[in-house]
Symmetry: C2
Subunit: 190 residues, 2 copies
């Protein structure tokens, strides 16, 4: 399959066109640091990435990856739940990424869950600047994942337009649940 | 709304990464020529675009647009139904675009319909090279559009994987039917 057609890769392709150097962005689920690295590359030295994870293991991966690319400077790694992101971020953010589920290769019992994911999304939407975008990659394949995906989609699917525009990118011809992307845009002021 | 989040624009963003200069591609619904122009820009002078439309008015728009960009040379404009595309195209194609519905600003009674769209898609899939992609933008908003969209999605949703990978891009928080994108990829040989 073309990489660009995968949910996480498509989120990068879309965010790449939106994020500008110097902006503030959030990685709500640092994990192995791939999204954090991508975000740091977009905002560059003059920008700021806040990256959250509850697991020290994840932050260690992320720290190492960012350091290897010389991009640690614009990144703040925070060991806390993304539910509390407004304790750490006060300024408007231009983009955020949620890559739900568990840490790849890590403890599969430590997963994101519908209630905290929704609480965090609400906080993040409060911080989102007009024209800003939140990318949420959901994984309905693991135990609890399907319920989390359904809750997130139901919540986002009921947001009022304007100011919220919500889109989904999904595999259509698939028997087992495949990861998919939800994109939330906050309308720009005109 | 960010233009990149609209169905037709996203199809271009995705195809841009896949189409290479020198390839052969199809615009199954020339319309006002926007997709034909985009395709001609991707395949360049050494490539080939076959553009179909049943309406002379559409081909006139397309011819004018392509000529204005100096890209008529690599484009063959065909006034016939896309059902018969294999009468005109025998070589493998790398990409195709279907932008369904009616000609914007034209006669809204002249619309694509489920049976001919499906017949044409089947022909197009026969021509598609491994690694090739078909983008289908469906419009469920006009009379007949919802039924056509449902038929196309049901057909594509039942294709076997491998070799077919099918994705959808849809507005989630929308009360009235919005245009959406279906992307069909034929797996590359390994």
């Amino acid at each position: 399959m073309y990489p660009h057609l995968k949910a996480a890769e498509l989120s990068h392709a879309l965010l790449e066109k939106l994020i500008r150097p110097g902006q503030t962005v959030i990685d709500a689920t640092a994990g192995k640091g791939h999204d954090t690295l991508f975000l740091a590359q977009q905002v560059q030295k003059e920008g700021k990435v806040y990256a959250f994870d509850v697991q020290e293991e994840a932050l260690a991966y992320t720290r190492q990856l960012l350091a290897a690319h010389g991009l640690l400077e614009q990144t703040e790694l925070i060991r806390d739940s993304h539910v509390f992101l407004r304790r750490y971020v006060q300024e408007p953010v231009s983009a955020a990424i949620y890559n739900l589920g568990y840490l790849p290769g890590g403890d599969k019992k430590i997963i994101t869950a519908a209630d905290t994911t929704l609480a965090s999304l609400r906080e993040c939407m409060e911080l989102l600047a007009p024209g800003g975008v939140i990318a949420v990659v959901v994984y309905p394949g693991h135990p609890g994942g399907e319920q989390e995906a359904a809750c997130v989609e139901a919540y986002l699917g009921n947001l009022a337009a304007p100011p919220w525009y919500v889109f989904s990118w999904k595999r259509v011809n698939h028997k087992v649940p495949a990861p998919y992307l939800l994109m939330v845009e906050k309308q720009n002021c005109r």
